[in-house]
């Protein structure tokens, strides 16, 4: 579903934000991407989403290179950033409808999916209000709904649980599990290690732009727990 091969991204003065990162996310995977602040998680996610150009390596979605055919890749995935800055002047429903138009979601299916997910996230009543009036959590919910209504195969989520109330976080976890059971895949970053441990079947840990561990959750954590493994790896690399 997602194949990253030797991906590197340099910023100014040759500083490598991400260095030769390679990993693969398969159909049905809930893949957690973990790292400290500034480790290179968001850079990687943005490059996968086709938002950020990169220097070396390749990223393939469904065997299509994002470099060669970004539109086809984007058609197959959905991206939600860590801070959902949406079109503040549009109403929630106008935004969802815009996304539906771009992905050419059938009218009946669009209505049905908006209803299903807006009800699930308890946002239906607010869809007529401008996004500018929404709280951070409401914007996050709207961004999640907008990602779900075009049924992508791959979800790229940057800190998806930030700002969500407990019920909405639970709803999202349920939906994530459902998406993967239906053959989709989720690649997401998080700082909430308990969630990652419970939810993910695969985990990658990134430190200073380099992968320090990756594989199935069981392989990565062994007999320990994710928090201990994470801290151990980070400190090991520091010393």
């Amino acid at each position: 579903m997602l194949k990253i091969t030797n991906f590197s991204k340099c910023y100014q003065k040759g500083i490598r934000a991400v260095d030769s990162l390679s990993l693969e996310v398969k159909s049905g995977d809930v893949f957690g991407f973990i790292g400290h602040n500034g480790a290179g998680k968001t850079t990687t996610l943005k490059a996968i989403a086709g938002i950020m150009a990169f220097d070396e390596g390749d990223i393939e979605i469904d065997n299509i290179s994002i470099r060669k055919d970004p539109v086809a890749c984007k058609q197959r995935m959905a991206y939600i950033p860590d801070n959902p800055d949406l079109y503040e002047h549009l109403t929630g429903i106008a935004y969802l409808n815009f996304i539906g138009d771009i992905y050419q979601v059938d009218k009946a299916e669009r209505t049905e999916l908006i209803k299903e997910y807006a009800d699930a996230f308890e946002l239906t009543g607010n869809l007529g209000d401008v996004i500018g009036s929404y709280s951070h959590g409401m914007k996050q919910k709207l961004a999640i709904i907008s990602a779900l209504i075009h049924k992508p195969k791959l979800f790229i989520l940057d800190e998806p649980f930030v700002g969500l109330d407990p019920k909405a976080a639970y709803t999202l976890k349920t939906i994530m599990a459902k998406v993967c059971s239906e053959g989709g895949a989720i690649f997401f970053s998080t700082h909430v290690l308990e969630v990652a441990q419970k939810l993910c079947n695969k985990i990658a840990i990134i430190k200073n732009g380099r992968l320090v561990a990756h594989g199935s959750t069981a392989e990565v954590i062994g007999d320990s727990n994710l928090e201990e493994v994470f801290l151990e790896l980070i400190e090991e690399k520091l010393s």
Binding site: Y87, G92, D129
Partner: protein, 523 residues
């Protein structure tokens, strides 16, 4: 005081940074943008000096040279007033970092002082560029005493105060009224355009009464004083050398500003809360949805973005609105009499293409359309749409705004009794010029984007992209003179100019398809 100065320096640098920013925040700005800004100020001052000197020479012939300071003073005040009306919301009220500033351990009065001083600084810079060259021009023509220089120099600091107070009152009133309605932006646009036309109309009304007065000097003096009463105090002070009027002007300016500051202090939180609390109903029921093709959806999105910002509309549509109003009015008034004779009529008729292109060049929406994506830029970049489709949607909105120009051509054709061929040629020129400015503005904005704005006014009015587009865009207008002077008839000049515009269109399209896409992907 230390806190105010610290806040002021941060915010002023942020505002200047917005003006000079290139690319992402924190990226080192190229030296040429600072040189460009300096050249821009020097050129503007030189133009201002030239204009003052020429006007002064004319007035001297009419024995009315003492009117020069009053005219430039009134012009500067009116320009300050009109531009500030649109800046109040976003600078004094309804600015983005309101929550952050109000949460700091500083008094509300300090926050207000900062906002008002920032607004004053911008108005002062503008007034200074207009008034200082005038002072030099008047000095050369009238050889006044030292008093003139001292007084006029000192009064430059006080000149923006009264217009700023008036503009703030009008701007706040418009924003307040508009916020009471669901389609507040649309109302804001209508109110603001009405204000502009009210000022323009006022001048016509005053013109009508002017015939009763004896001399030209008297006419101008009376009109200026009626239009802007403080001009009387200013003129008496600087040209009459009257220190009492000088002090009176300063006292009135300070008093007006003090009263205004006091009122703002009383209403600051209330108005900001009102303007920044979006209307939420939370009673939506999902009904039938309207679907559209991706390109239409992009166009609708762009159109909604356009109309969501009153400052964006006012800054880019006012030229076309004025052209339309004048074209429609031309059907009902006696143009011959208004222009004062056949010669002037003929001159205007022969330069219709020039006038048309001038107004179209003022109507560039694309020059801020990339910047206005702001922090939401990730959306369009993550969607499965090719950059060219995004460009088309932005160009289409610009063409929509320029569309009335085609109707105006037909109306002008009727008014000036043009041949069918002449009308078709003008229609083609209008279409080619609209396309040109749309693509040109877009390329400039791709080169000089600013995504870190704190209020849309920064992207729309105060960014490097808009300045470069507007001022370099006038070069395309000026080139018409080349065709008019080189080619023997107006028809041939228009034809030559049309071919030139089409060639530029083609070149810009090629640039957009190559460089434009690359740049978009790299942003």
């Amino acid at each position: 005081m230390k806190k105010i100065l610290r806040m002021l320096s941060v915010q002023l640098w942020a505002a200047l940074g917005d003006l000079l920013v290139i690319g992402k925040t924190g990226k080192k700005k190229p030296v040429y943008i600072y040189i460009g800004a300096l050249v821009f100020i020097i050129v503007l001052s030189a133009v201002s000096y030239y204009y003052s000197y020429m006007l002064g020479t004319g007035l001297k012939m009419l024995d009315s040279l003492e009117l020069l300071p009053a005219i430039i003073f009134t012009a500067a005040c009116f320009a300050t007033l009109i531009t500030t009306v649109f800046k109040v919301k976003g600078t004094v009220f309804g600015f983005r970092d309101y929550d952050l500033l109000m949460s700091l351990p500083v008094s509300t009065a300090s926050v207000i002082a900062c906002r008002l001083i920032i607004l004053y600084c911008f108005n002062f810079m503008f007034t200074f560029i207009l008034m200082l060259p005038m002072m030099i021009a008047y000095g050369r023509l009238a050889s006044p005493g030292t008093d003139f220089y001292i007084m006029s120099l000192l009064l430059i600091f006080f000149a923006p105060l009264i217009p700023q107070v008036l503009a703030s009152v009008i701007g706040t009133f418009i924003a307040y009224l508009a916020s009471k309605f669901r389609h507040s932006n649309l109302l804001n646009i209508i109110f603001s355009i009405s204000i502009v036309f009210l000022f323009v109309g006022l001048q016509f009304v005053l013109n009508g009464e002017s015939e009763k007065l004896a001399s030209l000097g008297q006419i101008i003096t009376q009109q200026l004083y009626r239009l802007y009463p403080p001009a009387r105090l200013y003129t008496r002070a600087v040209t009459g050398g009257d220190w009492v009027y000088f002090l009176l002007f300063i006292a009135i300016s300070i008093a007006a500003f003090a009263v205004y500051t006091f009122i703002v202090k009383l209403l600051f939180k209330k108005i900001n809360t009102l303007l920044m609390t979006a209307r939420a109903r939370a009673d939506f029921k999902l009904g039938e949805l309207k679907t559209a093709s991706p390109i239409k959806a992009l166009y609708i999105r762009e159109l909604k973005r356009y109309f969501s910002s009153s400052i964006y509309v006012l800054n880019t549509a006012i030229g076309i609105v004025m052209l339309t109003v004048m074209s429609v009015a031309g059907l009902f008034v006696d143009i011959d009499a208004m222009l004062g004779g056949e010669q002037a009529l003929e001159l205007l008729k022969n330069n219709l293409a020039l006038c048309l292109v001038f107004f179209i060049m003022l109507s560039c929406t694309t020059m801020a359309s990339i910047s206005l994506e702001g922090k939401s830029f990730w959306i369009i970049k993550s969607l499965p749409v090719a950059p060219m489709k995004v460009f088309y949607s932005k160009i289409a909105v610009n063409l929509t705004v320029c569309l009335p120009a085609l109707l105006d051509v037909v109306l002008l054709g009727i008014i000036f009794r043009l041949s069918m061929g002449g009308i078709i040629l003008l229609l083609l020129i209008a279409a080619a010029a609209s396309l040109l400015i749309a693509m040109y503005g877009l390329i400039i904005n791709l080169m000089l984007p600013n995504f870190s704005w704190t209020a849309p006014v920064v992207a729309v009015k105060q960014s490097a992209s808009t300045m470069v587009t507007i001022f370099s865009g006038f070069a395309f207008v000026a080139l018409y003179f080349l065709f008019a002077s080189l080619l023997p008839s107006e028809l041939l000049a228009n034809l030559g100019y049309l071919i030139f515009l089409l060639l530029v269109d083609l070149t810009l399209y090629i640039i957009l398809k190559g460089y434009g896409i690359k740049r978009f992907n790299a942003l």
